[in-house]
């Protein structure tokens, strides 16, 4: 048992890492997106600010911060601001239960690279994920604008639908792992020498779809629908408030959900898996750093996949989105759940 001071120190470092990842990386992901989008569309993207636009996010941020604080008339100022807080805080908090790698020892202190390793970690993820509904509904409501209201209702409807789907989808891996702790789930996958994606392809696909929907990514970005709704529920937000909503929605959430996907299906920090036989690590030369790199790689891969979809697919209608959730995905998750329950004894041993 280390002293309280050491514990606090470790926690502080972890928090700094998370904040760095979320706010720093999150901001830079805007640039990544713009670059990827541009290259998909055969154009260069931001090139002016810095080398290949590397300073673009900073410039954007500065611009947004120095805008005037405008508040729509007849709105509710408290809820208007509360919405922003509610959007930002839970989204970042999800990272508290993301395990970035295996336990290691520095200066005689054992450190788990996860902020809060609790036995209900996964539940925490969904609890926090549900909070976004409040943020969005409040944002739409407090803005007192029909565009905002419609956008927020659509978004809330989608989240509501996919919340159910995603909850049932993750039950497969949980059955296999027998725990809700995110760290333990990864550990189980390593012990069982199995990425759960091999046994849970349906769940994985559904999870990815649900992730897109929750994060408001194409093809499920009907709440934005620039052509009809301008920018949906953020239409009355200005300045940095306007900047933070997409940051949270498009980047932080996608990142966190991708990380959870990696944890659940792709074996977390483990290297490439050959089912039931073992792991092959082409990055062995990195030594103790290799798990972290693997983790980042997998998340990045998923993120890029999302970007790729974003700039490739058209947009669905709201009824198609919700009806797909209830009529196709939810029954599929049920089937998956029963199947998993049947085959689960194979992996327990």
């Amino acid at each position: 048992m280390e002293s309280l001071f050491v514990q606090l120190l470790v926690i502080g470092i972890k928090i700094l890492v998370i904040l760095g990842v979320v706010l720093g990386l999150g901001a830079y992901l805007t640039l990544v997106e713009r670059k990827v989008a541009a290259h998909i569309q055969r154009r260069p993207g931001p090139m002016v600010v810095g080398w290949h636009g590397l300073l673009q996010p900073l410039a954007d941020g500065l611009k947004l911060i120095t805008k005037e604080d405008i508040f729509p008339r007849a709105g509710n100022r408290f809820l208007y601001n509360l919405a922003l807080v509610l959007a930002l805080v839970p989204a970042v908090l999800v990272f508290a239960v993301v395990p970035f790698g295996p336990e290691f020892e520095v200066f005689g202190v054992k450190v788990k690279p996860i902020l809060t390793d609790v036995n209900v970690g996964l539940l925490l993820v969904f609890a926090l994920g549900s909070m976004t509904v409040y943020a969005i509904a409040l944002a739409g409501w407090a803005s007192n604008s029909k565009y905002a209201l419609i956008g927020s209702m659509r978004k809330a409807g989608i989240i509501v639908s996919y919340e159910v789907v995603i909850t049932f989808a993750v039950m497969g891996p949980v059955i296999l792992a027998g725990t809700l702790s995110t760290y333990e789930i990864v550990q189980q996958q390593i012990n069982q020498k199995l990425w759960y994606i091999w046994l849970q392809p349906i769940a994985f696909v559904i999870y990815m779809f649900a992730m897109l929907a929750e994060a408001g990514r194409v093809p499920f970005d009907i709440q934005e629908a620039e052509a009809e709704l301008v920018t949906g529920f953020t239409v009355e937000y200005g300045g940095i408030k306007f900047g933070l909503f997409p940051l949270v929605e498009w980047y932080v959430e996608v990142l966190s959900l991708s990380a959870i996907a990696v944890v659940l299906f792709l074996g977390g920090w483990s290297p490439i898996n050959i089912p039931f036989l073992g792991f092959v690590d082409p990055l062995f030369f990195l030594g103790p750093l290799s798990p972290f790199v693997w983790f980042v790689l997998k998340v990045a891969l998923l993120f890029l996949f999302v970007l790729w979809l974003h700039w490739t697919l058209p947009r669905y209608r709201i009824d198609q989105i919700t009806e797909t959730a209830w009529k196709v995905m939810l029954p599929l998750t049920f089937v998956n759940l029963v199947l998993t329950a049947v085959i689960a004894p194979i992996v327990w041993r």
């Binding site: 926690i11 972890k14 928090i15 904040l19 706010l23 911060i65 120095t66 805008k67 005037e68 604080d69 405008i70 508040f71 729509p72 008339r73 007849a74 922003l84 807080v85 930002l88 805080v89 908090l93 508290a96 902020l115 809060t116 390793d117 609790v118 539940l123 803005s143 007192n144 604008s145 905002a148 209201l149 809330a156 409807g157 509501v160 639908s161 159910v164 049932f168 039950m171 059955i175 027998g178 809700l180 301008v230 009355e236 200005g238 300045g239 940095i240 408030k241 009824d319 919700t322 009806e323 209830w326 009529k327 029954p331 049920f334 759940l337 029963v338 329950a341 689960a344 004894p345 327990w348």
Partner: protein
Amino acid sequence: MDYLGFLILAFVMLGIALLMVFLNYLLGPKAPSALKDYPYECGVPLYDKSAQATFHQGYYLLGLLLLLFDIEAAFLFPWTVVYRYLGVFGFVEMFLFIFILTYGLLYAWRKGALDWQFEEEYID
């Protein structure tokens, strides 16, 4: 103690979020004008003073469905964790549960609750 880090992070984030809320107020210019706070309406005058009207009933239905299915999920999670100790008994129980759940879904489907434009007669 497990949640200490979580709490600290929560407070830190709360601070950051509040900072963000007031950042524009602190740093931005202050030049109010009559039309700046006018709700966006594609340039035409506002039709309704308040946009906080009641909305499409489909959203209510979605809310109801979420309420029910999410709660069922809450029942399934404990089961998923201890499933390996329950054996066949656990499987049968769960199967019944999922069966009933599926039934409920089918019911909602059949009654049109899942359709965006549902038929009117099922409501009253």
